[in-house]
């Protein structure tokens, strides 16, 4: 790569010193010198004492109040730090397993998954009856080759068409992800570059988050064991809310051999929501490292006799002539009107003329795919994003006008012609598909379709809860040259820029440093009334986080409580539970388990969000004794970060 390469030239510009904020520089300097002074046994501030300044009388009281607030809050945070438990050795086992898995050799494993041994599966007994078991074979040949196939099942009901039956599989070859449904013999394949295979087994799944769970105070390493003929590390991880998992991990390879605890089924292709109960889990029955895989193991071609949905859709789309159309569609809870300009699967433009409901885009939003790439604009928040054209065909707006992707419903044999109509100036063939039974799940409702007699495209479609109508359509129009070029509207910002702006915890909020925090009211877990103005008189640290403890901020609640006690309540601490169910049962559980004595506020009506409009959680807010904002932060805060926040605020005083 040449040094004259513009990318390198640009990158080279990114060097050189930058002055940080003076407050930050001063606070860090003080902190470091204190540390060094401690280690030397010398006074900290010799030689760097800032010039003595006299405050104007009118500023003294508020500044002193702020300083006092910070000092007290600092003590609270200090106690949090001191009382934070040391990393559990169970966490070390997890980290070793994750590191080992990076070098995982090819393997084939048959897992038996116990979905609901105790009848407490959160999906309920209708979907997952007590005693339900799936047997799944996982074949793995590096990050780009993966297959998961249902081998057998026990007590799995036929509740919906999406539940994979024995013989169904999912396969990934590094570029394409394919699934086969053995019940309907349906096959589907689509590009899926960059996906993480075996996310859970490679220790990168989002749930459970082992880094958090195994840091819990009661996590421990248990005696080693033998599972499927392999030496296994045995650990128990218990999180801060008392949920527990027991794991057996191959000592040499880091492969999870057995687990008892609630897990999802993603790696095992068990279908939507088919996780296990807390007493469930899985265990390897048979394991072979470096096996000889059958030739078709990682093939993403449709098996003989399978109906290849994507293949049929692609073939149909290739025959659709260019068109310009206005299409109205309605689905339960939302409706929209879109204008579509389409040259082919890779070259199209779609604009929302009107939209209502949660699922609809706002009027003025548009997406474009063309020779210069793909871009989309969201009129709601005035942001745009661009991407490669790799998946443009997947979003081809003509797909919604094909009666093909739901061929199962629109089978010509089952949907006889019942008439002819004129729709949007075109001759339309009207077919009626009567209601019928489904081999799985509820009966399929009756539907009516009107297809263009010349092109076969849908002009109208009606069934229970859904409607589609072409309001106008012109075939083979003349497109303006700029039609398929994405140009961001004036005043819009890129999604990346928005992400940067949202890094600022005050962005779009009604809070500002030094300003009074607007009041709001809610109820406490104990049943009392809470309002922000009640906090005046003492500094207060408020944490906004949901009670499901899906956020790492929840892990520090016990330490925060100890700090609260240690500070003799000089700083008020309040946990505002912003997302809860069943009368705050989660908050109650977390509070009891962590022996929380500071107030837990249940914000039933999103009063805090409405009053302050903060954009994410966990959200931290430090108020002084007069109810003015000292500093806001969101996202999980490490203690060092909070320390820096407090230190830098304290320095000028």
């Amino acid at each position: 790569v040449s040094e004259r390469d513009p990318v390198i030239t640009l990158l080279k510009k990114l060097d050189g010193p930058v002055d940080p904020r003076p407050e930050f520089a001063d606070a860090l300097r003080s902190q470091l010198l204190e540390q060094l002074a401690q280690t030397n046994g010398a006074p900290a501030r010799h030689g760097i004492r800032p010039p003595h300044r006299t405050l104007p009388a009118r500023l003294r009281r508020p500044l002193l109040a702020g300083a006092a607030a910070l000092a007290v809050a600092a003590i609270v945070i200090a106690a949090v730090v001191v009382s934070r438990p040391a990393p559990a050795s169970a966490l070390d086992v997890i980290r070793q397993a994750r590191a080992a898995f990076v070098r995982m050799q090819p393997f084939q494993a048959t897992y038996q998954v116990a979905l609901n041994p105790d009848g407490t599966n959160p999906n309920g007994p209708r979907l997952v009856p007590k005693g339900a078991i799936e047997t799944v074979m996982v074949s793995y040949r590096g990050p780009g080759r993966f297959r998961s196939q249902i081998m057998a099942e026990h007590l799995i009901p036929l509740t919906d068409t999406a539940t994979p039956r024995p013989g169904s599989y999912q396969v990934f070859n590094g570029r394409t992800l394919a699934t086969y449904n053995s019940l309907f013999k349906r096959f589907s394949a689509s590009p899926a570059r960059g996906i993480q295979t075996l996310e859970f087994l490679s220790w990168h799944g989002s749930y459970p988050d082992w880094e958090r769970v195994c840091r819990g105070p009661n996590s421990k390493v248990l005696a080693d064991a033998q599972i499927a003929g392999r030496d296994a590390r045995h650990i128990r991880c218990t999180n801060f809310t008392g949920e527990s998992w027991e794991l057996w991990i191959d000592r040499r390879t880091g492969l999870l051999l057995k687990i008892i605890g609630q897990v999802g089924g993603d790696d095992f292709f068990l279908g939507g929501g088919a996780g296990t109960s807390a007493k469930g889990g899985f265990q390897i029955e048979e394991l072979r490292y470096n096996p000889s895989f059958a030739a078709e193991t990682f093939s993403v071609k449709a098996p003989p006799g399978a109906f290849d949905i994507q293949g049929v859709v692609r073939a149909e789309l290739a025959t659709v002539p260019s068109f310009q159309a206005v299409v109205y569609s309605r689905s339960t809870g939302s409706s929209s009107t879109e204008e579509v300009w389409r040259l082919n699967s890779h070259t199209w433009r779609e604009k929302t003329l009107a939209g209502t409901g949660a699922g609809a885009s706002g009027a003025g939003s548009f997406s474009v795919s063309g020779p210069t790439g793909e871009g989309s604009y969201d009129a709601h928040d005035k942001t745009y994003s661009r991407s490669s054209t790799a998946d443009a065909a997947e979003s081809d707006p003509a797909q919604s006008l094909l009666p093909v992707d739901t061929t199962y419903v629109f089978s010509p044999a089952e949907c006889p012609v019942v008439g002819h109509d004129r729709i949007a100036g075109r001759d339309a063939v009207h077919r009626h598909c009567p209601a019928r039974r489904s081999p799985a799940g509820p009966p399929i409702a009756s539907s009516d379709i009107w297809a263009d007699s010349a092109t076969g495209l849908l002009l109208k479609y009606e069934t229970r809860g859904h409607e589609l109508r072409v309001l106008s359509i012109v075939y083979r129009p003349t497109f303006r040259p700029a039609t398929f070029r994405f140009v961001a509207p004036p005043g819009s910002i890129s999604q990346q820029r928005l992400n940067q702006l949202e890094e600022n915890p005050y962005y779009k909020t009604k809070l500002a440093p030094g300003k009074l925090a607007p009041n709001w009211q809610a109820t406490t877990l104990a049943g009392g009334r809470f309002q922000v103005t009640d906090l005046r008189g003492k500094p207060a640290l408020l944490l906004f986080v949901p009670d499901d403890c899906s956020d790492p901020a929840c892990d520090d609640l016990a330490a925060l409580e100890r700090a609260y006690q240690k500070s003799n309540h000089r700083t008020q601490v309040v946990w505002v539970d912003i997302w809860f169910g069943e009368k705050g049962r989660g908050a109650k559980k977390v509070g009891r388990r962590n022996h929380l004595t500071f107030p837990i506020v249940l914000d039933h009506n999103e009063a805090s969000h409405k009053a302050w409009a903060f954009g994410g959680y966990p959200f931290w807010l430090l108020l002084d004794s007069r109810g003015r904002v000292i500093e806001a932060r969101f996202k999980p805060q490490r203690v060092a970060q909070l320390t820096a926040m407090l230190a830098e605020r304290r320095a000028p005083h």
Partner: protein
């Protein structure tokens, strides 16, 4: 003081070459701070919050080392070494978070040419563009093109093969170019 509590400072010791007295460390700090802060702010998409956190971590680690009688003969290189480790740790954390977001950027060759001007705006765009590149690719770009490491050295630092780093560089260049063009749009 709570500030001390988080340092995990062992028993007081004295005597690192850099000078543990407050005055000489203060001078070193004044000189090194803009360099270290600039190092991070440029490599973290211009995020001052991240740059401040990493700067703080770097200097705290440096101070902790000094407290262990660490003899430092080349303080500037030494603290840059600590900063680099902090940065790579940060990228690794980011990489974990964005794992599922590494979308279809790879292997798409861009035809548009970058126009490099010597302006503040260009630097801002480049900084934002680098911040938009996936963490693993960004680590490779920073080590090889900004910090001047060879591919083999970068591979060792990142715990990857040289082929993997070359691949990261190729994809990172494309991602950077694309993000930069977006910023310019």
């Amino acid at each position: 003081m709570f500030v001390i509590a988080i340092m995990d400072v062992s028993a007081p010791r004295a005597g690192a070459v850099l000078g543990l007295d407050a005055r000489s460390f203060g001078a070193f700090y004044d000189d090194a701070l803009p360099r270290i802060y600039g190092y991070f702010v440029h490599r973290c998409g211009g995020s001052t919050a991240v740059a401040e956190d990493l700067t703080q971590e770097t200097f705290l680690a440096a101070a902790a080392e000094l407290a262990k009688d660490r003899r430092v003969t080349a303080p500037t290189a030494w603290i840059h070494g600590i900063a680099r480790h902090k940065l790579l740790d940060h990228y690794r954390r980011e990489k974990r978070a964005e794992r599922s977001l590494v979308a279809a950027w790879d292997e798409q060759q861009l035809e548009a040419e970058l126009v490099v001007e010597d302006s503040h705006e260009t630097r801002e765009r480049a900084m934002a563009a680098l911040g938009a590149v996936a963490a693993s690719q960004r680590a490779a770009l920073v080590l090889c093109y900004l910090d001047g490491y060879s591919v083999a050295e970068a591979a060792r630092l990142l715990g990857k093969s040289t082929e993997a780093v070359e691949s990261l560089l190729a994809r990172g260049r494309q991602s950077f170019k694309r993000a930069y063009l977006e910023e310019s749009a």
